[in-house]
């Protein structure tokens, strides 16, 4: 069976404490392979991107080959810690007879894209039938014609999507994508350490995060949209709709905190380990990660607001087993299955009816605002503005320069 986690991944995951969600694994781990394609990327073909290109489909071998290849982020699917099997995936395999090759090889949106970009541009199959990408990267794939339209007839459960996610700007009627999980970026903190450093039990604003008493003991996320979304909101701007000048002002605020030594480090997934060791007291971090750390740790959406992001399932161009992939999507839009996954990963569940199912699994989680958020909470959570490729590049440059790159 292919639904067991590979030994190596299991070992690393074990080392870093299990039961934490997907952004935990270091993004640098995959960079070596990304660099391998450096030379090959030299001449970017210039006819593929721009506008909404329709993706090419390959002959669907789903009926003859009962397999599907799925790439997801690490620790983003319910695992039976005793057997190492993905419980919900085993159920799918037993029900359909389809063998799922589940690979946790998406560690970073950019890095994963760098790995498969050449093949996509040259019109080759990337060997994956289903991938999970964050909104803005999913948008880039749709625009570039690297995603295939979903056959909703094969996904009857797609109607279970929660209304708020049913339409997104980059994929209006959800033709290409279905959300996997959503999450907040906001304030995470170590409660006892916070208590001794500044006499508080919780952080509620970025003003507190940038308080001198936490100098050198806070980290920010290297994911630009999450860090800058929180700072833009803190500065009183709308992260879903802002101007260049507003962004630059937010960058100046960030630079000030970085240069003063207030910010210890800007990291990908590393902040969790740093919080656990006590080196870092407070962070801008991801909800599911922080919550999974346990009682001594707290997460809050800042008063000024945080960001809301979604990771989406999509089918790459020329995927060989499109139909099987659609069956997988359908399986995870079954409220019972969705509740099982949500109970494990602690992120926002995109499936209507899962909350009712969660009552049966764990009543406490059914009322958890970070899995099933209230509308009051969602009012303070911004989806980051959709950027043109040019904006994306110039904002990224400003951001990376501010954090030392």
């Amino acid at each position: 069976m292919t639904t067991k986690r590979p030994e190596a991944v299991a070992a690393i995951a074990g080392q870093m404490r299990s039961a934490v969600s997907r952004r935990r694994l270091l993004q640098v781990a995959g960079i070596g392979s990304a660099a391998m394609v450096a030379a090959a990327c030299g001449t970017g073909s210039d006819d593929s991107a721009g506008g909404e290109a329709s993706a090419s489909a390959a002959e669907d071998k789903s009926d003859t080959e009962m397999v599907v290849n799925w790439s997801n982020w690490p620790l983003y699917l319910d695992v039976n810690e005793d057997t190492g099997e993905y419980t919900s995936l085993v159920a799918f395999e037993e029900a359909t007879g389809i063998d799922v090759t589940y690979t946790e090889d998406v560690n970073d949106n950019n890095e994963f894209f760098a790995k498969v970009r050449t093949q996509l541009e040259q019109g080759q199959d990337i060997g994956r039938d289903l991938v999970v990408l964050t909104d803005w990267m999913a948008a880039l794939w749709i625009q570039s014609g690297f995603a295939q339209k979903l056959d909703k007839a094969l996904i009857p459960n797609s109607g279970n999507i929660i209304p708020r996610l049913a339409e997104v700007s980059f994929d209006k009627p959800r033709d290409y994508t279905m959300p996997w999980q959503s999450g907040f970026a906001g304030l995470g903190y170590n409660v006892p350490a916070l208590q001794s450093a500044m006499g508080k039990d919780a952080l509620t604003s970025l003003d507190e995060l940038f308080d001198p008493s936490l100098k050198g003991r806070i980290t920010l996320l290297s994911e630009m949209r999450d860090t800058m979304g929180c700072i833009l909101a803190w500065k009183g701007y709308d992260p879903s709709n802002f101007t260049d000048a507003q962004f630059e002002e937010a960058i100046a605020a960030l630079t000030e905190q970085v240069d003063s030594g207030q910010v210890r480090q800007v990291t990908g997934n590393d902040y969790i380990a740093a919080m656990e060791s006590g080196d870092v007291i407070a962070v801008i971090g991801w909800s599911g990660d922080v919550i999974a750390l346990g009682e001594d740790f707290g997460f809050s959406l800042p008063e000024s607001g945080g960001t809301l992001w979604t990771d989406n399932m999509l089918i790459p161009a020329l995927a060989q087993h499109k139909k099987n992939a659609e069956l997988v999507i359908n399986h995870y839009y079954d409220p019972t299955v969705a509740a099982e996954v949500a109970a494990y990963v602690n992120y926002i569940c995109p499936v209507e009816g899962a909350q009712a199912e969660m009552e049966k699994i764990d009543p406490d989680l059914a009322t958890d605002e970070y899995i099933f958020p209230s509308s009051a909470m969602l009012d303070r959570a911004y989806v980051f503005m959709e950027l043109t490729p040019e904006q994306n590049e110039s904002y990224s440059r400003l951001f990376e320069k501010a954090i030392g790159n």
């Binding site: 990304a34 760098a114 590049e393």
Partner: protein, 296 residues
């Protein structure tokens, strides 16, 4: 090869030519290897570094001869360049200070435990580079005994080691230490102990013997070790990423960011090329200075 003497007859000229042709054929596998693993990537990298962006299309580049990529990249990133060489230089110096006595000890003092000692030196390399560096995060943690010890002595400007330049340099030193120890050991082990006896016999004390005999004879190992340590250390980004702060970014981090975040392949390539060129120049100057050509 196969030079033809003026007096040689026609027949021998023909056979000499055939011989020289055979010689070239024998070179073929080596040349192919070089072409595949060195020349082609090298040329591709160079050509990429001169590409120009396509207007209005981010992440798209066309072949061009945009030499300005180089000064632009340098103007933007010279602090990271300097920092890389500074950190790598300090780490190399520290590695030499640690590795030399250790290699000396293994080569001359441990006798039959040599093999075991060498295995112990290399053993950490069996674990992933990444995991080893992660381990240092724990070791250098604010609450760890090392940081507490130095803090008790009030030796740390930021009251911490992790996420400072000290941690980055320490990480570089640790991670590349085997590359220093092994060539040093190889060089020291080759020294005939009778040379040391001869020096001793010729009125040189142990210290003078080290200065006049052991050290000069180990120079090839010192040169190889410092190069093998300095070169990867200068291009490394993991130690800075995991152990440093935003103030400790090195050129490797910048190349990575340009490559993956910005998809700015020309800048990333130009930076790689400059890094390569600078290291090459330094290596040649260094080797010439060290005067090891006739030693090796």
């Amino acid at each position: 090869m196969a030079a033809v003497l003026p007096s040689a007859g026609k027949q021998s000229q023909v056979s000499a030519q055939r011989k020289s042709r055979t010689g070239y054929f024998l070179l073929l596998p080596g040349m192919t290897w070089l072409a595949i693993f060195f020349a082609i990537p090298f040329v591709t990298l160079f050509m990429t570094s001169l590409q120009a962006p396509v207007a209005g299309k981010s992440g798209q580049y066309v072949p061009a001869f945009q030499v300005s990529n180089y000064p632009d990249a340098l103007a933007e990133y010279w602090p990271q360049f300097l920092r890389s060489f500074l950190y790598a230089g300090i780490a190399t110096g520290l590695a030499l200070l640690i590795a030399y006595p250790l290699a000396y000890f293994i080569a001359f003092k441990v006798g039959r435990w040599r093999a075991l000692m060498l295995v112990l030196v290399i053993a950490p390399s069996f674990a992933s580079f990444l995991l080893r560096t992660y381990a240092w995060k724990t070791i250098l943690s604010d609450e760890g005994f090392i940081t507490s010890f130095f803090n008790a002595l009030h030796l740390l400007p930021d009251d911490r080691i992790l996420n400072t330049s000290i941690a980055v340099v320490a990480g570089l030193t640790y991670n590349f230490l085997p590359f220093m120890i092994l060539p040093l050991y190889a060089a020291l082990e080759k020294i005939d102990p009778r040379l040391l006896e001869a020096s001793n016999d010729l009125y040189a004390s142990a210290f003078t013997t080290f200065r006049k005999i052991t050290w000069p004879l180990s120079l090839p190992g010192v040169v190889a070790g410092t190069l093998l340590t300095f070169i990867p250390a200068a291009g490394d980004y993991i130690n800075s990423e995991l152990l440093g702060s935003t103030q400790d970014r090195m050129i490797g981090n910048v190349i990575q960011t340009n490559f993956i975040e910005f998809r700015d392949y020309p800048t990333a390539s130009a930076l790689s090329f400059v890094l390569m060129a600078v290291i090459l120049v330094m290596v040649f100057t260094y080797i010439r200075r060290a005067g090891t050509e006739d030693l090796v």
